[in-house]
């Protein structure tokens, strides 16, 4: 399942997509949990009884601000969450 967390507002579309099929049985030992400086990810048991990562609810409403520091303007060349997720489950829409 592709789970899109985020929103669209007047300034743009801000979604973090998590491909739960790649996230189940994570080969990166849940590196996203520690890679995100804001610790926005957590592991939940979804409706299909799979243990997967999701974006914490309060962060879903403030993604453009929360992720701002990790974007190229913040001095990063690649996003820490995407770099840490070696199975390639995490994507940003912006």
């Amino acid at each position: 399942m592709i789970a899109n967390y985020g929103y669209k507002d007047g300034s743009g579309e801000y979604y973090i997509s998590i491909d739960t099929d790649k996230c189940i049985g994570c080969a990166a030992e849940r590196a996203c949990l520690t890679a995100c400086p804001k610790q926005m990810f957590e592991i939940i048991t979804d409706d299909y009884d799979d243990e997967v990562a999701w974006v914490k609810k309060p962060n879903c409403r403030t993604l453009s601000y929360d992720c701002g520091d990790c974007k190229p303007s913040g001095g990063y060349t690649s996003l820490p969450c995407i770099a840490a997720c070696t199975p390639g489950a995490i994507k940003h829409s912006w």
Binding site: I2, N4, Y7, K8, D9, E13, Y48
Partner: protein, 269 residues
């Protein structure tokens, strides 16, 4: 076996009591809806409201709590249903219920009072892709309701008025508060009410469509949630999504509660 699905929406609580049937030679008749019940909670305490809605549903079906094998809850307030065995997301419940009603559908659009979301599902109603809008209600029913109030119309009149317009007036505001002032400006510039109603519903449809396009439009499309009752919105959504038909269930607000009750029944096996 009877199971219950409770959809704790932000505006209303929907309860579906589902009975598992065993009709020989007709495997498609696996479930029968025993009773549906909707309650607008007058109480801010959601625990109390959930109890009350469930008891009302049971009473109208002539059942007692012990007659129900399992209760599952969904919706924004699902965690407040203390007597539910499990809480499931709106995406899972909505997909399940919609595919039960329309087995050919693969795209489910759910527009309720405070949230809208798009789901892509497989043949058994399992959500395989979803997107919502976590931030604001501009793509949902309460936005349309606020705008109908600004035009001093009922929601029904608002939807019908929209169908009488053939103008496309873009609404730029993304937020209910700013959109209301945009509507007031249109009223002051003597724009006909029908055109304003269409502009508002086009704007809601365009926001909902943006979410659905994230997951992709595939196969037949089903619309569930209270906004199905707004004919103007349905027309605007068809145009925004570029589809000729959208399947509309008779009782669209109960579909998520139905899916929830079905999952409760399946988990008993």
């Amino acid at each position: 076996m009877i199971t219950a699905g409770i959809d704790m929406g932000s505006r209303s609580i929907k309860v579906v009591l589902l009975e598992e049937l065993n009709v020989d030679g007709a495997p498609q008749l696996k479930y029968g809806v025993k009773k549906v019940h909707i309650m607008m909670p007058g109480d801010l305490d959601q625990d109390v409201a959930a109890d009350k809605a469930y008891d009302e549903a049971l009473a109208s079906a002539g059942l007692k709590r012990e007659d129900v094998k399992s209760v599952f809850a969904t919706g924004a307030g699902r965690k407040q249903v203390s007597f539910a065995a499990e809480g499931i997301t709106e995406m899972t419940a909505g997909s399940k219920g919609a595919i039960f009603m329309y087995p050919q559908a693969r795209t489910v659009v759910d527009v309720g009072a405070e949230e809208g979301r798009g789901m892509k599902t497989d043949a058994v109603g399992r959500a395989i892709d979803f997107a919502g809008n976590e931030k604001c209600a501009a793509g949902a029913g309460s936005f349309a309701e606020a705008m109908s109030r600004a035009l001093q119309m009922t929601l029904k009149e608002f939807g019908e008025a929209s169908l009488k317009s053939d103008k496309s007036i873009p609404m730029n505001a993304q937020c209910t508060v700013f959109a209301e002032s945009e509507v007031v400006s249109l009223i002051h510039s003597a724009t006909p009410k029908n055109d304003i109603a269409k502009a508002v519903l086009d704007a809601v449809a365009s926001r909902v469509c943006a979410m659905v396009r994230r997951v992709g439009i595939e196969g037949e499309v089903v619309l569930i949630g209270g906004m199905v009752h707004n004919a103007g919105f349905v027309q605007s959504l068809k145009v925004a999504m570029g589809v000729d038909t959208i399947s509309l269930p008779d009782m669209p607000e109960y579909i998520s509660a139905l899916g929830c009750a079905m999952i409760a029944a399946e988990r008993q096996h």
